[in-house]
Symmetry: C2
C-alpha cells in the first residue's frame, strides 16, 4: 500500500533524462561533476538546505538516460507541488539534464529498492564514418555487423543466470550475481543497430560486457561455447571485452 | 562537360556533415572557430601549405549540416586519392565535423557556382520539456502547434518570389533577391515537427525568417495577409521574426 503522508516530508519522484557525455556518471563525485551533484545543487538552491537525491541505479561516466528515476524528500514545510519542482529544476539545470516528470510518491516508495526491472539500450553505428550528430551517442564500429548472428548470440543470456563472469564488480558474494534477463532484441535500420535489454536488474558494467560478448561472437572473433562456459562456471573466468559507454542508454525503470 | 585534368592541381569535392553548436558558422572567422577554419587547418597540416576551401554556401553560427559541399585544389604534385583525403581529414578533425564523401571533380566544378539547388530542414519540438539529446538541435516551442495550419501558411512562399522582405541581407540590388522555392513540406511525429525547404537557393537568414513567419501565422499571432503583402511589395517592409539557428540543417546541395 502506498502511503502519502500529510504531515511528514512529501516524497517527490522524478523521471530524468540526461546526455551522459559531459558528466562523470550518475553518482555523486568528489569533483561534483556527476548528474546527481548537478540536481542536488539546484535542490539546495531552491530549498536553501542540502537535500539527498536517491537514484534507481548508477550509470557510468558517459552513459545516457532517457528515463532514470530518483526520489527526494521535500522539506516538511514546503508548499511546492510536483509541477513546481519540475519547473524550478528545469529552470536551473543545464539543458543536458531534464526532469521529464515529477509526481508525489508514497513515503514507502524508494527509487532503488522499489524498482522491479530496467530497460537498457545500446546503439551501434556500423558504417565507415560516424555522423557528427551521433558523436558520443553510439559506438562506432566501421564494419558491417551481422544483426541476425548478434541476436542469436545474445539469446544465450536470456533467462536467470549467474552473471559473475560478466560484471566488473569484484568481490560480490557467491549467489549475489544471479540476475534474470527477460528479453534481448536487436533491431537494424541501415548502418544503425540497436540492442535492447530488459531485465530485473543489471550488475556493474554488465550490459556493456554482454554487448561486447555478443558482438565478438557475431564478428566470429569469439566462440559461443566460451560464453556458455562462462555462464555455466561463472567463477572460472571473466569476460574482458567491455563496449564503450557512449552507446549505452538507461531507457526506463519499472516499478 | 566536366574536365578532369591530369597535369593541373586535382580538384577534390567533399560532402561534409557538422554539428553546428560548437562553431561560429561555416565561413572563416578572425578567431578561427568556423567549420571552414577547422578543415583548412587540417588541410594545411597534411600539405604543409595553406589551401583554400570553397563551400557551397555559408551557414550561420549554430546551424548544422548533413550534406554541405565544398571543394579545394590539391597540390599538383599530390598523389593522394580522394579516399586518402577523406581518411586524413577525418583522422584529424574533431568528431563534430565529418567528411562523408570525397571525390575527384572536374576543374570546372565549383561548389558554390555550380550548385543548382539546396535542401534545408528546420526541426521543432513542441512539448513542455526539450529532451536533453535535442538540446541545440531543435527549436523548443513548449506549446502544441497546428501542423496543417503551418503547412498551409508556408505554401504561400512556394514558387518564384522577390524575398527581399524575408532576408537579413540589406543593400542587395533590386531584383537580386528573387528566388524560386520548389517545395515546402511539414511532417509531424508526436511533438516533433520537421519543415523541409527545397529551392534553387536561399538568401541570408531566409529559411529562418520563413520558418518564423509560418509559425506566427499557425499560432494566430500574425495574419497571412501580412506575409502576402510583404511578398507583393518586397521593399515596403521587412519580416522581423527570425527562428533560432539551433533547429536549422543544411541537408543537401544539388548540382
Amino acid at each position: 500500500m502506498s502511503v502519502i503522508s500529510k504531515t511528514k516530508s512529501p516524497r517527490i519522484r522524478l523521471v530524468i533524462a540526461y546526455d551522459g557525455a559531459p558528466f562523470a556518471g550518475w553518482q555523486s563525485q568528489a569533483g561534483g561533476d556527476a548528474v546527481q551533484d548537478a540536481i542536488e545543487k539546484v535542490l539546495a538552491l531552491i530549498t536553501k538546505d542540502p537535500i539527498r537525491l536517491h537514484g534507481a541505479g548508477r550509470t557510468d561516466s558517459g552513459v545516457h538516460a532517457l528515463g532514470q528515476v530518483a526520489h527526494f524528500d521535500a522539506p516538511a514545510e514546503s508548499r511546492m507541488r510536483p509541477a513546481d519542482w519540475q519547473r524550478a529544476l528545469n529552470g536551473n539545470l543545464p539543458s543536458s539534464i531534464r526532469i521529464l516528470r515529477a509526481a508525489r510518491a508514497g513515503n514507502d516508495f524508494h527509487a532503488r529498492f522499489s524498482a522491479k526491472g530496467k530497460v537498457y539500450r545500446y546503439d551501434l553505428w556500423t558504417a565507415d564514418v560516424l555522423p557528427p550528430h551521433l558523436s558520443q551517442r553510439a559506438w562506432h564500429m566501421p564494419r558491417p555487423l551481422d544483426a541476425a548472428a548478434l541476436q542469436a548470440a545474445l539469446q544465450l543470456f536470456v533467462g536467470s543466470h549467474d552473471f559473475h563472469a560478466f560484471t566488473a564488480n569484484r568481490g560480490t558474494p557467491p549467489g549475489d550475481t544471479v540476475r534474470e534477463i527477460q528479453k534481448i532484441r536487436v533491431t537494424q535500420s541501415g548502418p544503425s543497430l540497436r540492442l535492447t535489454f530488459e531485465g530485473e536488474g543489471f550488475l556493474y558494467k554488465m550490459v556493456r560486457m554482454l554487448t561486447g560478448a555478443g558482438i565478438r561472437v557475431a564478428q566470429g572473433r569469439a566462440d559461443i561455447a566460451t560464453l556458455r562456459e562462462l555462464l555455466a562456471n561463472p567463477r572460472a573466468g571473466r569476460w574482458t571485452n567491455v563496449a564503450p559507454a557512449d552507446g549505452l542508454y538507461l531507457v526506463r525503470v519499472r516499478y
